[in-house]
């Protein structure tokens, strides 16, 4: 353990990142540039989130890492191991027990508390990128609050699909000021962006950090006659029976058989432990037994 500085990054780097985080918290939704470091993992594997987590971790922390809601996917496992090894912090898969959660593409179902920090891995921090490719121009648009173009994108969705078809990375306006990309979380999670926890967003390749301080206002953009809807698959979880959680569709055989299960594995397990049962839960347990 002595061969690594605590949480891998050197102290000066962590201070630099913390300054960026503080600035991001002070100006909610604003993308703060930071000097992203080379990490021992490729871009796209959460280098931004890892640097933010590294700058936030203290030895007493209990870390949870999820990828698409699951604790057991490669990305989540390797990042969890990374911090076990470099910071020696305790880890958990239980949302309620974690003090810092690094996530990719989901917000846990269980409401977060004021004692928790949620760190997002962000691939593309600029919500206007696909509408206006020039970085100089998008920066100007943010500074002048020229956000009509975001609605053009939503307009195109409705014109083409009859409804707003954007289903993830759904743009939000923070505290009535900055338009922000909430990272590729499903729009189902957008309402949970208004939270008691501190939410930090790290984009390693693009060298940007932005943040949502606790309880700040986050509004999903929409039209008056096409209001935002936090949609999900119209099913209940086949394992825990939850009708309100975000579901993954799983193909289970070659005959088109499929099941819907909570994408948040901890949420699902917690419910099953409490005795909730879905359509296929019994067979599942027999199978494991």
């Amino acid at each position: 353990m002595t061969e690594y500085t605590f949480a891998y990054l050197d102290e000066q780097t962590k201070r630099m990142i913390r300054r960026a985080i503080l600035k991001a918290l002070a100006v909610p939704g604003y993308q703060v540039p930071f000097a992203s470091r080379e990490m021992p993992m490729p871009y796209g594997w959460g280098t931004g989130g890892v640097q933010v987590s590294a700058a936030c971790l203290v030895p007493e922390d209990r870390l949870k890492v999820i990828d698409q809601g699951a604790d057991d996917t490669t990305n989540a496992v390797s990042i969890r191991r990374f911090f076990e090894k470099t910071a020696g912090v305790a880890t958990t898969t239980r949302t309620a027990e974690a003090t810092l959660i690094q996530t990719r593409h989901r917000i846990p179902e269980a409401p977060l508390t004021r004692d928790q920090i949620l760190v997002y891995q962000v691939p593309i921090p600029e919500p206007l990128r696909f509408l206006e490719p020039r970085e100089t121009e998008t920066r100007k648009m943010h500074s002048l609050e020229e956000y009509g173009l975001v609605h053009v994108k939503l307009y195109e969705d409705i014109a083409r699909h009859g409804q707003i078809a954007t289903s993830y990375a759904y743009p939000v306006k923070v505290e009535g000021r900055y338009v922000m990309d909430p990272s590729p979380i499903p729009k189902f999670d957008n309402p949970k962006l208004e939270s008691a926890a501190i939410q930090l967003f790290g984009a390693g390749r693009e060298q940007r950090i932005y943040a949502l301080p606790p309880y700040c206002q986050v509004v999903s953009l929409d039209f008056e006659d096409h209001p935002f809807e936090a949609s999900k698959a119209d099913h209940i979880c086949d394992l825990c029976g939850s009708a309100t959680s975000y579901l993954d569709e799983v193909i289970v055989d070659d005959a088109g058989g499929r099941m819907f299960v909570c994408s948040d594995t901890d949420y699902c397990e917690t419910r099953r432990a409490a005795g909730h049962r879905g359509r296929l839960a019994a067979t599942e347990e027999e199978h494991f037994a």
């Binding site: 020229e146 009509g148 053009v152 195109e156 014109a159 008056e224 006659d225």
Partner: protein
């Protein structure tokens, strides 16, 4: 009556070369002014400086704002200037590709300015887009097509619709009929004239086509080497040109 636009001593150099020099004029509400001259005479530079696309070296461009009366656009803050560009000003480019979003549908192109000034009702935006498409003679069923699927004349009409949808008071046009077939030009001229009259628009039109200015412009400025050499009523300048250059220009046009 207060002029909508008062230009004083507007000058821009490109290094040692003159872009335009000491240009002054007033434009009143409802007036259409043409600027003619050969390539390199400075007419496009002047238009760019007026519209704020180019930074002039000196001079004033006073626009009669709705709230505060005449204000120098060159001294405005960038947010103010950009807001003005989205509301009271419009710019029609010679090449519609420069003025349209080619990856966005016709309806989205027209709706953008509305959304930029706060429209948030999809049905309302779409209704206005449809209304404007019909005003520029684009069939309603093309509203969801991208401009890349349109002919040059249609693209130009779409660009005009996109610019006029927020009811601007001053439109800058850079060779609006350039690159179009003669028959398509005529249709566009007719359309522009109708819109100018209906909306009470003021316009500054840069062109090298004297037939176009005769039909569209009330007044004319003739530029040569960055300087205005002659200005006056359009038909007077064309029929009784005073400056040698204008006489040459007018006599060089083939009579049809």
């Amino acid at each position: 009556m207060t002029p909508l636009l008062q230009v004083r001593d507007l000058t821009k150099h490109y290094g040692a070369r003159i872009g335009c020099a000491d240009v002054s004029f007033d434009l009143y509400p409802g007036e259409v002014m043409g600027i003619v001259g050969e390539s390199g005479s400075g007419k496009s530079t002047l238009l760019g400086c007026l519209a704020g696309h180019l930074e002039a070296d000196r001079g004033q461009v006073l626009f009669d704002t709705r709230s505060d009366g005449p204000r120098d656009m060159r001294a405005m803050s960038e947010p103010e200037r950009r807001m003005l560009s989205r509301t009271d000003l419009a710019f029609v480019h010679q090449n519609p590709r420069d003025g349209l979003r080619m990856g966005v549908s016709a309806g989205g192109n027209v709706g953008e300015r509305l959304m930029a000034v706060g429209a948030r009702h999809y049905g309302g935006i779409r209704a206005q887009a449809l209304d404007w498409l019909s005003r520029v003679e684009i069939a309603e069923d093309r509203i969801d097509d991208r401009p890349s699927a349109f002919s040059g004349g249609m693209q130009q009409r779409l660009q005009i619709a996109r610019n006029l949808v927020t009811g601007p008071r001053l439109v800058f046009m850079d060779e609006p009929t350039g690159g179009l077939d003669v028959s398509v030009q005529a249709r566009l001229l007719d359309l522009l004239r109708g819109l100018v009259r209906e909306m009470g628009l003021s316009a500054v039109i840069v062109t090298h086509d004297l037939a176009v200015v005769r039909l569209l412009a009330d007044r004319l400025m003739v530029m040569k080497s960055g300087h205005v050499v002659e200005a006056g009523l359009t038909d007077q300048v064309l029929d009784d040109p005073q400056h040698g250059y204008t006489q040459l220009l007018v006599s060089s046009v083939l009579q049809v």
